[in-house]
Every structure is written in C-alpha cells, then in structure tokens.
C-alpha cells in the first residue's frame, strides 16, 4: 500500500485539474495580450480567474489579485515590495518564529538593507504570543507578517486578533499572512482577518506547482520585485502561466466545494490517528496544539529515543511517506526550528515526524500507517542504546 502523508509539502494534481492545464497548453495556448480572437479568449479567462480568486477570499476588487509563481514569490513580493515602498515611514518589520523558510530568508535580506526585524516568539503549542507582538510594535513598524497556519506543527494563528491589534495603532501597519496552508482548506476572508496581503500556493490544494497568487489590498503601497515589458499585470511582469493559473482555479473550485465536509471528516480522522498512536506507542509527544487550535490536516509526533530520518526511511520502505524535523534529514544538519520554537529540545526535534493529510486521506490508510509506524518504532528502539 502506498500512503502519501507529506501533503503539506505538496499534493497530487487531480485529473480534472490536469485536463484544464492540458487544454490551456495545447489548445488555448495564446497569451492574453495578442490582438486576435484566441488571445481575447485567454484574456477573458484570466479576468474570470482573477474575479474568482478575489471572490474566494471576499476581496472587493479582482485587481487585488496578483498571479505569481507560488507562495515563495508571493511572500517576496509582499514583504520586500511593501517594506521597500514604505521605507520613508519606518524600517521595522515583525514576523513570527514559525514563518516559512522563505519569509525567514526575506527578513535576513531586509536586515542587510538596513531594516530592523523582530521575531515574535510562539507558545509551547506554536501559537504566536499576542502580548509579545503588541509590545514589539514601534512608531517605525511598517509591516507585520504572520503565517496563517504553522506548517510543521499545525498551529492556527489568531490572525483576526492580530488584525485587530494592528488596526488599533495610530499609524498604518501593513499586515501580511502566508496562507499557503490555509487557502482552500479553511475559510479565508480578508475582511474578517483584516489582512492587507495574503499569499497562496496552488500545489498545496491539488493544483499545479509553480503557480500562486498574492492578494494586495487596494491602496497598498508596494513595489514590484520583477521588472519587465508591459503585461497583463505590471506588478508582476513576464508571461502569465495561464495553464497553471487556470488549473489552480479548477483545483480551488473543487477544494472549496468540499471544504466544510473535508474539515469535519479530517478532524475525526486526525483525532482517531492521535488516539491510536498515543495509546499504542509508548513515549510519544504530540507537537503542537490539540483540538480546534490545530489544522485537521496535520499531525506531528516526536518518538522518543529514536531518530526521525531512520523512522521516515523505515516508513518509506513500507510505502508510507512522511516528513521529519531531524537534523540528520536537513541539508544544514540543523534540528527543526519549529520544534525548538515551541520549547522542544534537540532530541525532540530529531525524533519528530510530520504526517500531513489531503482531503482524500482514508481511515484505511491511517490504519496501515499506524501498523507500520508501530513496527518501525519498536525496531529502532530495540537497536538504540539510548533508552532515556
């Protein structure tokens, strides 16, 4: 049996999506800026797609959607673009300790450009400390960027409360969220969340890789990060990846139509999985929150006394594919920062395994995973000299 439980890294493209992508590659292949009928058709389709994505997040204007190559580019455009364009108002930005690696890298780059960056800590469940966030705000703060859902430990961030805190300040602070794990899985309403910018990636919900969008609230001062010829959208020049954009639209339609049911079903499945692991395997630690503070798409356990790369390879040999926070599996040999950020030590990071579902994950797959997990964990514990 093959069980793919690394859906937070990427998901499979659905056949309905593939069909759309293919048709825009082979048939409706024109670019939207041509002065002929087939180009006009593609132009209309892009406009429709933009309207669809705007509606899907309750944005007022379709021009507030900028198509990008994915969440990394969306995060770059949002943070670099807003920070650089608003520098005369201040040079301070705030991020959380659980941001995606792209946001961490962008923050480092901004430091080199003379910006000041505050990283607000999270509590031991991976939820941002709101009082620390509020304390970090200064007259020079121009941007706050907080991930919607921690991708390693599954914590849902209190975006509405952050939006509320920021709206109470006496100067404008832009609010960006990396919603890669949220969009098309949870309701994402830019008005309710009070965000000015929101990043989305298509391949997280069964769309193609290399496509995403950034919501930019009308009136936001933002600079482009790419420069090019006249195009569909001057904030992001270069040929639009029409097949991928249209495929992402199809994927979002399918995901949004099934969203409420999927949340309900996966919450039960998640609870079942957590219960089984906690009752059938000794010395495990659930990383991240329980219940409604956690996305039902994520389960993350640390298995004590053993190491995560060996666990994930052992599982992979049985057809179960997962992610680990072990240093041994990272290119820099560093333990996972999310586990350290929630107060875990190196051993807990090395022994951590992340299981992420998609909306098609079945109970049968979870049962299979638990069985294989039990045998891999007990085997590795048997051969380990470290017994605690």
């Amino acid at each position: 049996m093959k069980v793919f439980l690394d859906n937070c890294r990427t998901t499979r493209v659905l056949p309905e999506v593939l069909q759309v992508v293919q048709s825009y590659m082979a048939e409706n292949f024109a670019r939207p800026d041509g002065l002929y009928e087939s180009a006009q058709q593609v132009y209309d389709d892009l406009i429709t797609a933009r309207e669809f994505f705007a509606r899907s997040i309750n944005a007022d204007f379709s021009e507030e959607i900028v198509f990008t190559s994915g969440a990394t580019e969306s995060n770059n455009l949002a943070i670099l673009g807003v920070a650089r364009a608003n520098r005369k108002n201040g040079n301070h930005i705030i991020i959380s300790a659980l941001e995606h690696g792209s946001v961490m890298s962008i923050a480092s780059r901004l430091k080199e450009e003379g910006f000041e960056v505050t990283v607000v800590p999270v509590d031991n469940e991976g939820i941002i400390r709101l009082n620390e966030l509020e304390k970090a705000i200064k007259p020079t703060t121009i941007l706050v960027s907080v991930i919607a859902i921690g991708h390693f430990v599954g914590s849902i961030m209190p975006l509405e409360e952050i939006g509320e805190i920021l709206s109470r300040q006496d100067h404008k602070i832009y609010f960006h969220t990396d919603a890669a794990e949220m969009y098309a899985k949870f309701p994402a309403d830019v008005k309710k969340l009070r965000v000015d910018l929101l990043s989305v990636s298509g391949h997280k919900f069964h769309g193609p890789k290399g496509v995403g969008f950034l919501y930019v609230r009308k009136g936001t001062r933002i600079e482009p990060i790419l420069y090019g010829a006249d195009s569909f959208d001057k904030r992001r020049p270069g040929g639009e990846n029409v097949p991928a954009i249209m495929g992402m639209k199809k994927a979002a339609e399918l995901s949004l139509a099934d969203m409420d049911q999927a949340l309900k079903r996966l919450r039960e499945l998640q609870e079942y999985f957590i219960d089984r692991v906690e009752s059938e395997i000794d010395s495990v630690i659930l990383n991240g929150p329980r219940g409604m503070k956690r996305t039902p798409y994520n389960v993350n356990f640390s298995f004590r006394f053993i190491e995560g790369e060996a666990i994930s390879l052992g599982l992979s040999m049985e057809g179960v594919e997962v992610a680990t926070g072990s240093a041994c599996a990272s290119e820099k040999l560093e333990p996972n920062y999310a586990i350290l950020a929630i107060g875990g030590d190196h051993e807990r990071a090395h022994g951590s395994i992340r299981f992420t579902f998609d909306r098609f994950t079945t109970r049968e797959q979870i049962d299979y995973t638990v069985e294989k997990l039990k045998s891999v964990v007990s085997w590795l514990r048997k051969i380990s000299p470290f017994k605690g």
Binding site: C328, A329, I383, S384, P385
Partner: protein
Amino acid sequence: MLKYTELVMDHFKNPRNLGKIDDADAQATEGSIACGDMMTVYLKVEDGKIADIKFESYGCAANIATASMMTEVVKGLSIEEAKKLSWKEIVERLGGLPQIKYHCSNLAVDTLKKAIEAYEGKRQ
C-alpha cells in the same frame, strides 16, 4: 531527500552484528543525543583478535549502515589491524555516502577505537 546507495539501504534494513554482548571484554559509547547520533560498540577479544563485535545505534540510516559495515570489516581482524581502520574505508565499502553524512562513518570508527582503548586499558 538524501540519496543512499543500495548497499547503505541494505545495511540499514538488515544491520549486521546488531545488539549487545552481555559478557563483552570492552564497550564504548560515543556521540550525543543532542547531535542526533549515538552508538555503542561491544567487543569480545580472543588471542589478540576481535572474535565478536556488536553495536547499538541511535541515529539516522547512515549511522546504522556505517556501524554495520564497520563491524563486518573488523570482525576477525587483530586489534592492531582494527586500529588502522579509517572512516574513508567505510565510506568506500558502502559505495559512497552523501558528504554531509561522512561524520557518521567517523562516529563508527571513533566508537570502535574507544572500545579498543577501553579493552587495552583494562589489560594494563
């Protein structure tokens, strides 16, 4: 994902000389939990030769595979020959390792040498 050779995967799946020797002549543990790899090596010595060797491992696939290969190489060697073993030889025998995993073969050889030191220390 790191790419391991088939031989590394084979040693990971079926480690040779795995376990404990209850009446070992010497043993040593090296590495640390914080670094994510730790190993214990047990030695049984007869007539100056490594008559038996076993290991336990807390660590990644490379850690387990290098320890397994190390025990296979030194079993039957004289203590003096075993002392000359280098981490590079283990890597070569395994058909290579990702460069960032070289320290695992280092740990296997270091733990062996510490166990030999412990054995020699006891005899003095």
